[in-house]
Structures are given as C-alpha cells and as structure tokens.
C-alpha cells in the first residue's frame, strides 16, 4: 500500500523523533561503544586505556571457559526450549480436547509467565535448598543426594527447571491458540479420509502447528539466552565451576565482576554478531520452509 499521507513533510519527522532519538542514544551509541571498547585494553578503574587491536578477541576465542559457556548456553537453550515446548504442547492438546475447560485451564496455567525470572529462580532455589528444601529433602530420602552448589549437572538442571516452569505458560498460550485455530473442516476431511485420531494428530494437527512450534523455538531460545539471567544470577551465580555460566552471564561476569572491559566488550560484539546472524538466518531461510 502506498502511504496515504504524502504531502506532509514535517509531520512524519515529528512522529519519528522520540523513538529515533531513544534508539540512537540507547541502542546505537552503546552498540558502537561496545565495538570500540572491544579493541582496547583498560584497567578496572578506567584509569588507563590502550589500543590493543584484536587482543581481546584472541583472548576470548582462546579461552576454554568461553567455549564452556557456549556449550552451556546451547544445552541450556535446547533443554529449556524442548522442555517448555513439549510440556506445553502436551497440556495444550489436553486442554484443547476438553473444549469446555480450555479457558479455565489457560487461566490456571498462564500466570507463571508473569513471574520474573529472578523470582522464579528464588522459588526453585527454595524448593531445593539443602537444609529446608522440600524437593531436595524428598530426593535425600530417596537416596539421591542433591547438591547444586557442588554438582554442576544438578545446578544446571535446577536452573533449567526454573526456566521451564516460567516459560511453559508462554508456549501453552501459543499452542492452545494454534490448536484452536486448526480449521475443524481439515480434521473432518481427514476423518472422512480414514485417518484415526492419532494419525490425524500427527499428519494434520502437528504439521499445522509447526510454524508456531518454530516461532516458539526461536522465542524460547531467545528467552533462554537473555532473560534467564535473573534466574541464573539468583540460583547459582554461574557456578559451580562455571557449569551454569551462559554467554550472556559471562559478558556480565567478565565485565562487571572481573572488571575486564575489553574482554566483555569483545564478547558483546561476538554475541551481537551471533544473535544478528541467527535472526537473519531465521528471517531468510528457516521461516520460509515452515510457513503455510
């Protein structure tokens, strides 16, 4: 559609100004600074600053803990996405079945989305507290020793569970909406075409959900990438032994805790490139393949 208001010259700029201003000041300026900073070495107090070329990048890329964080991020994102999505799909399918209760169940399941990741972390930390946690206690009685302060796998599991708990409702809302928008006539056509309920789900409903599923995969990964910072920080602070340090957490840790501005900026730049690339990839390629 061609724009209806064509003769106005100044009005659009007045309209654009606030958003453009904020984006330029709080997005582009920092982003450019990050890029600049990545080429400098600076001491903690910002008293001295020296151009260092690619030193920061080399250091980051030769740091085994950086790769550990990348691996953790991958496992973490996948586990959260797959976990939150499969639980949500299962629940949504059941809620969709029981037509009448669907809205009630949505109400009962949707609220964890409103809980801040940091709060979710605290809630789950409490459940697994070594002295008073309910679940750690139960596990202890079953002979499973729970010690997320020492056991990296358990720590990661805990953070993943808290993140799934919070994220599930988001996926549930989408899956339920998607399920409810699968045209009834398609399922009827399939029934007439001799497909039983199970086959109908896998050959009709599920493929029709796949755009939603793909979208959710992206959103869940983004969530796991960025928004779980609060969960990680409250539950494990990235430990034990870096087992729950994700790339984003590492940017924070190296920059704010380690006071290594250059390394942190270099990681920021790498992360921006990574996320930008993934987004581009998503827009360009994958989305086309799963859209109907």
């Amino acid at each position: 559609m061609s724009a209806p208001f064509q003769r106005h010259r100044i009005t659009p700029w007045i309209l654009m100004a606030p958003q453009l201003g904020i984006v330029l000041v709080f997005f582009f300026w920092p982003a450019l600074q990050a890029i600049e900073q990545a080429f400098y070495v600076e001491d903690a107090f910002g008293l001295s600053r020296e151009f260092a070329g690619l030193v920061n990048f080399k250091a980051v890329l030769s740091d085994p803990t950086y790769y550990q964080a990348a691996g953790t991020t991958l496992i973490f994102s996948l586990a959260v996405a797959v976990g939150a999505m499969s639980i949500a799909l299962l629940l949504a399918v059941m809620a969709d079945r029981v037509i009448r209760g669907a809205r009630v169940y949505r109400t009962l399941l949707v609220w964890p989305y409103a809980v801040a990741p940091a709060v979710a972390g605290v809630l789950w930390l409490f459940l697994f507290d070594p002295t008073l946690g309910l679940i750690s206690g139960l596990l202890g009685n079953m002979g499973i020793e729970w010690d997320h302060k020492l056991n990296g796998a358990q720590a990661l599991t805990l953070v993943i569970m808290a993140s799934i708990w919070k994220q599930m409702s988001y996926n549930f809302v989408f899956f339920l909406a998607a399920l409810q928008s699968v045209p009834n006539s398609l399922l009827e056509a399939a029934a007439i075409d001799r497909a039983g309920p199970w086959r109908r789900f896998w050959t009709i409903t599920f493929p029709l959900l796949s755009p939603t599923a793909f979208f959710l995969l992206v959103m869940n990964s983004v969530y796991a990438f960025f928004e779980t910072f609060g969960t990680i920080d409250t539950v494990t602070s990235g430990g034990p032994g870096g087992a729950t340090t994700t790339l984003v957490y590492k940017v924070y840790q190296d920059g704010f805790v380690g006071q290594d501005m250059g390394a942190s900026a270099a990681q920021s730049v790498l992360l921006m490139a990574l996320v930008g690339g993934l987004t581009w990839f998503q827009f360009r390629y994958v989305e086309k393949k799963v859209q109907y």
Binding site: F45, P130, L150, P240, G241, V257, G258, Q259, D260
Partner: protein, 413 residues
C-alpha cells in the same frame, strides 16, 4: 551537614552493628552524617564500587576485602591513601598503634598505610562440643592427621552426618593452609616482593591437602558447603560437627547455634611442618575513593579516627570476632576480662601472631585475586564433585590464575 556514604558487605548481625556504629558516630557530632549501605557480599561490594567509580557515582568509603587489596593499591589515581587523608585532615593517626600483622598487609613497600584496617579476621576451627562428646572425641585435634581420626570417629559413631565443613574454601584450605604449613602459595613471597609473582600451589603440599579433602568428601568426613559463608548453616544445624570459618563468624554462630560450641586454632599438617606457622589475615579494610571534596575528606578522616578508637574497636572485636586492630583495643579487651569470660575468643589473635611470619605467611598480594579466587573456587567445585582429578584441577587453576596475574602485571606497565 556533610553526608558520607560508606558501602560495606556486612550482612546479618554484623550489618546491624555497622549501622549502630555509624549511628553512634552521627550522634557524636553534627557536622557529618555517615550513611552505611549494604552492597552484598565482598565481591559484589567491590565490583559495584568500581563500576560506580567509573561512572562518577562511587561511594566515599568502601569496604574491600583483603583479596582486593592488590587491585586497589594498583589503582593509584582512584584512591586516596589513608595516610595522606589522615595527614591532610590533621587528625591523630599513628600507624604504629596497629597490630603489625594487620598493618603489614595494608602498607605499601614504603611503609605507608593505604587503607584503614577495620575488620580483620583469620580462619579458626569451630566445633560442636555436643557432637564431639557424643563421638567420644576428647582432645581437640591439632594436626590434620589427628583431625582425620577424630572425624572418622564422629562419622562412624553417627554423631553427625558430616564431620567438617568450611566457609571460604580457597582462603581456608589453600591460602591459610599454605601459610600455616609454610609452603608458598605463589612465588615472590606471595607477591609481596614483586608483581611478577606466579601461583605455585599445584606443586606443594596443597595437592595432598586437597586430595585428603576429596577423600573425606567421599567418606563423609568433609562436606563442601559452597563459596563465601554458604556452608555455615550446616554447622548451625548440627549436620557438621566442625567448621573452619572466619573468626568473625563468631557473632553469627553465637546467635544461630543452639548448642555449646568451642573455638580452636586451625590444625597444621604434621607431614609438612613440625609446628604451625602464623595464619594470614582476612576480612576487609576501608578504602577512600578519590573525588571527594575538602569537607568530606575531613569527615572521612574524623570517622576513621572514631573507628580506630580503642573503645569502638574493642566493642567491635568482642561483638564480631574480628581481630582487635590496634594494640590499645587488644589491651582494653584483655583488661575488661573478655577473654577470660569467653574462652576461645582469643584463639584468632594468638594464631595470627604465632611466631615470626615467614615469606609464606605474610599474606597475599596478588593482583586480580578476586578473579583468581573465582577460578580456584570453580576448580575446587569440579574436583570435589569428581569432575576432574585433584592435580589436574589445581594445574588448571594455576594456569588460569597465572593468566590473570600476567594480565594484571601487563596492565600495570
């Protein structure tokens, strides 16, 4: 009225005490108001102070733990050295009045005191008398070897599900272990003699010590309880019969443990030394960040003078378990009969003043030590959880730590 902000890391009962000290100072005069702000644990306090400094929003006074000392010392333009501050403010300040073990740590090679020691500690052993009695342990073990036997008894008798735990694992099990047993933690007298110091603990008795702990972790004699003070509840709850922790844990243990407990020195390793060396300092000192005006400088100086007065120091020492920083405070405490009334409260001061400090027991002066601690803690966690072997883990800790040291060194040049 001039406001002075003081960022500190004293939580729990100690935090309340800090608030009270500030309130008392504010009440004692009406020119200055000191506003204490709790900024989380030591590491959080330090990092937020640095970040705030960079943003020109730094506090006037910040409490930095001993580990951050080298970093702060190196930040020449960012701090106001205590001796200069006191001198320019024209208040009474006599570095000689401080305990040598303490001042030594916070003075530059020229002997100038750069920060004001406020809460210095050293680790000690706390024991649960009831559990020990239950297990039939009568003598408080003095060596790690004796300790091993005692812990075995405790665990085997079922008196406690865990024998020993520790707070601040690197500080207690590596840094102080090295000092007491006179092995180098790092080269160059642990950094006192040059910025080119490198970590050494992967090639000393520390390896055996960590191997011992790993074994104990498996058979229940030892239980890792997390970084910082996270392990303390295991002792409060009676799960662990012994805990190695800062002398300053005294106040909290007194408040939270509903059993009879005792304080003992850290054991030494009979396989390594005949006799224990002195332990090294922990806790924190107060640093003044640059950028304050004349009035506030004056205020800070007067507050420091107030803090160093024997009455305040003695009270703080007795309440918290931190060392009496000045000779006067120690004397006053003794005079008040505190040690006699509260047996064990002098263990720390005795332990840290045992004998003549060797080059392995003067303390640590390593740049980026905050981050190095993180590295060590991370590796310890992996070792205790069985993810890596002891030697392997310590090697890794040393090489990553050395990288940080190199970085620090090169940034200084």
């Amino acid at each position: 009225n001039t406001q002075i902000t003081w960022w500190h890391a004293m939580g729990g009962a100690l935090g309340d005490k800090v608030d009270q000290i500030a309130a008392d100072f504010n009440a004692s005069q009406d020119t200055y108001t000191v506003k204490p702000v709790f900024k989380g644990n030591y590491s959080e306090t330090m990092t937020s102070a640095i970040a705030a400094y960079r943003a020109d929003k730094g506090p006037d006074i910040v409490q930095i733990y001993e580990v951050g000392t080298a970093t702060m010392m190196a930040a020449k333009g960012a701090i106001v050295p205590a001796y200069q501050l006191m001198a320019s403010a024209d208040v009474d300040f006599d570095p000689e009045g401080y305990l040598p073990a303490v001042t030594g740590y916070y003075t530059d090679p020229e002997g100038n005191m750069l920060s004001l020691p406020f809460n210095s500690s050293t680790p000690v052993t706390y024991y649960n008398r009831e559990r020990l009695a239950q297990a039939g342990v009568e003598e408080i073990p003095r060596t790690w070897q004796e300790l091993g036997d005692a812990l075995e008894k405790i665990v085997d008798s079922g008196a406690a599900s865990c024998g020993l735990t520790t707070t601040w694992p690197s500080w207690v099990m590596l840094e102080n272990y090295s000092a007491i047993n006179d092995v180098p933690f790092a080269s160059q007298a642990n950094g006192f003699e040059g910025a080119d110091a490198r970590l050494r603990f992967n090639r000393t008795a520390v390896v055996d010590q960590i191997e011992r702990l790993t074994r104990w972790q498996d058979d229940g004699r030892f239980d890792y309880g997390g970084r910082f003070d996270d392990a303390a509840p295991k002792f409060y709850s009676g799960d662990c019969a012994l805990m190695m922790a800062s002398s300053a844990s005294y106040a909290n243990i007194k408040e939270n443990a509903d059993f009879d407990f005792g304080v003992a020195p850290l054991p030494y390793d009979a396989d390594v030394v005949e006799q224990a060396n002195n332990s090294i300092i922990g806790g924190a000192s107060l640093w003044v960040l640059d950028g304050l005006d004349e009035a506030r400088r004056q205020g800070v100086a007067e507050f420091f003078e107030y803090l160093s007065s024997p009455e305040i120091q003695a009270d703080w020492h007795q309440y918290s378990g931190y060392l009496p920083i000045t000779q006067a405070a120690a004397d006053l405490t003794r005079k008040q009969g505190f040690y006699a009334d509260h047996p064990g409260t002098d263990v720390a001061i005795k332990q840290i003043t045992t004998g003549e400090p060797t080059e392995n027991s003067k303390g640590l002066r390593l740049g980026n030590m905050v981050q190095i601690r993180d590295v060590i803690n991370g590796e310890l966690e992996e070792i205790f959880s069985g993810d890596v072997g002891v030697q392997e883990g310590l090697d890794e800790a040393v090489s990553r730590g050395n990288a940080l040291l190199e970085k620090f060194e090169s940034a200084r040049q």
